[in-house]
């Protein structure tokens, strides 16, 4: 599963999705933004633009079908303590909101148009990601 071919074809599909969304509909495939829109729209009961929900449904469906059709085994999720899952999720939410983007929005779409802002954001979150991940390794939490 961890072969280069899978990584490259996966990356190509992600890139293809990003360019189709933008070329056809002018939409940016930044998942943090899309999921926030999807949730805030429930609150406002405004369903004029169903794009966030349609895209997210496709995201899950595409993941499901890929596992089924290619017989890719389900990954075993780490048995992390609950507090770690909650802190991790909260930081991802807070950070993507304040920093206006996540791995897809800054890392793929932003760098895709060579935005210095997104290149900076991506370098920063990779750096702090390494700090967090290596700290967990060091402490032996996972």
């Amino acid at each position: 599963m961890n072969t280069a071919i899978y990584s490259i074809s996966g990356g190509l599909l992600i890139g293809l999705s990003a360019i189709l969304a933008y070329t056809l509909f002018g939409k940016i495939t930044g998942i943090s933004g899309i999921s926030f829109q999807a949730i805030s729209k429930i609150k406002q009961f405004s369903i004029t633009d169903k794009w966030p929900w349609v895209f997210l449904t496709g995201l899950v469906l595409g993941g499901f079908l890929t596992h089924q059709l290619l017989h890719i085994p389900t990954p075993e999720l780490p048995s992390s303590p609950l507090w770690l899952v909650i802190i991790s999720g909260s930081l991802v939410g807070i950070g993507s909101q304040i920093g206006s983007g996540c791995t897809s929005g800054h890392g793929i779409c932003g760098i895709g148009r060579l935005s210095k802002r997104s290149i900076t954001a991506t370098l920063i979150f990779m750096l702090t990601g390494v700090i967090a991940s290596e700290t967990i390794n060091f402490l032996g939490i996972l």
């Binding site: 990584s7 509909f25 895209f55 075993e76 930081l91 935005s115 210095k116 802002r117 390794n137």
Partner: protein
Amino acid sequence: MKRLIQLLIGALFGSGLVLSGMTDPSNIRAFLSPFSGWNPQLMLVMASALAVVIPTFFLLKRKEKPLISGSFMSSHPSAIDKPLIIGASLFGLGWGLYGYCPGPAITALVYGQLDTLIFIIAMFFGMFAAKLLTALKY
């Protein structure tokens, strides 16, 4: 028809995340652990995605409107300001702690694990909390 195409666009993204191994948190953790048995595979994912995105976005600069509907963003924020730096730092910390960013976490809902759901709920709480905080500030 429009909705079907949008569903397909989402499905391509989800499929790419599964194929590239991004829905497995241990792959992300291994990528973010250069001093503990680094797995550089995710570089390939990003590089191949950018290999199609960069030239396409460059060519699209000449186009005025998307092919089906909507409009292109007229301007993008370009300032490298405090919110960007603080936000990206916090985002990275959260990403490296467990190994999920928003896309893979949502796609991983298909695995039916409670932890994934808890991660996503915490993520939404974080988003709304940050939104409230920034709204109060300005």
